[in-house]
Symmetry: C2
Subunit: 226 residues, 2 copies
């Protein structure tokens, strides 16, 4: 089995400026792939037109594969305190599976986010998949437990109470730390349709600061281990 | 807010044979898009090569958009008892976000699945995002509660206990009904690396058979409302 330690995070000599530039280039590609994922679900074109599109997709993948890592993107950081996790399934800039979620760290201690969940996030007819809500809540809550990336946390337990279905479209979520005892951090959160005050799901999570992460050996800015 | 009822499911006059044929065509496209999502995370090509790939992706999306629905894929069924949910975030044949998961219904009452989770499902460095495990467990458990699609269920509560990180790669999961009282169905499940006997996450869920789904009005074969 895999185990995590402070060595799981890669110190990079890339400047923050070069990382921002790279994120613009690859973020734009990921955005276009998100559009492709979406329309591939909705399309009604004939099989020969599908084949035509498929050949273009393969060509694009071949070009990108000409020089590519085998390894996952991982989590990197530099000496300027910038970190990046481009492959992350919720926030990864390069990952077309990620909506991507962007977090707003409030001065009131509440971490908020709004994001559009389109047809690729469907579960019940016309509604957000309950597991997709679990996915993004898990991430939001882990980041919240990390106290704005000042410490590392891992998920201990997560409990989700499904109140009502959330229609596909814009959703709103928020999370906050409600208790903290030693290395145990409790976070509560909820997600709803952006235009509704009634939560679709209420969640509570227990997050742990691993003992190996309390030795001062963890790079700042790396944040939650979701 | 959205609400669900038996009217959420669309009766189609498409034959099962035509659905199978369509799934082959669009499933192949979704597979190629999955490959594209994966390599877009790993690629190291220069910005001008990225731009070239991006143009191909846009062209593919334009072609597919020439005739496309606005609506999400939804859940359809036909008179032969076949159902399909092509946009589903976990099992959707047309959805490049879905791994997709394929379930094995055991005669022992255990529902099993194995699936490869590549670099697009990353959370902690080199590991499956905890929320991705939650996403696919939620779906697996909901389908399990539906007793091989003989009834409809919705998620009530879901509790996940994170035991250890699961490395990216092949994962194995299983679920079974452990209690049933009235309209409440309890399901327990776990997910682990395919080559490990130690669970990465243990889960328990309470699933509800909605009152509107106990009137015999729900099409058979539709299954869980995840």
């Amino acid at each position: 089995m895999s185990s995590l330690s402070s060595a799981s995070f890669v110190l990079s000599d890339a400047s923050t400026a070069s990382i921002v530039e790279s994120e613009q280039v690859h973020g734009a590609l990921a955005d276009d792939i998100r559009g492709l994922v979406d329309v591939a679900i909705r399309t009604q074109v004939s099989p020969d037109v599908v084949a035509e599109a498929q050949e273009l997709v393969r060509q694009a993948a071949r070009i990108l594969a000409e020089d590519a890592d085998d390894a996952p993107a991982g989590v990197h950081f530099n000496a300027e305190g910038r970190s990046w996790n481009w492959g992350n399934a919720v926030v990864g800039i390069r990952n077309a599976i990620a909506p991507p979620v962007v977090l707003q760290w409030g001065e009131d201690g509440i971490v908020r986010s709004e994001v559009d969940l389109g047809v690729a996030y469907e579960g019940p007819p016309g509604c957000v998949h309950g597991g997709v809500s679990a996915l993004i809540l898990d991430h939001l809550m882990g980041e919240t437990a990390s106290a704005a990336h000042t410490r590392l946390t891992v998920t201990g337990t997560l409990t989700l109470r499904y109140e009502q279905p959330i229609p596909l479209g814009r959703v709103r979520m928020q999370a906050q730390i409600t208790e903290e005892v030693g290395r145990k951090v409790t976070v509560t959160a909820q997600i709803s349709a952006a235009n509704s005050d009634e939560p679709g799901i209420k969640a509570q999570g227990l997050f742990i600061i691993p003992s190996w992460a309390t030795q001062g050996s963890v790079p700042s800015g790396v944040g939650s281990l979701d």
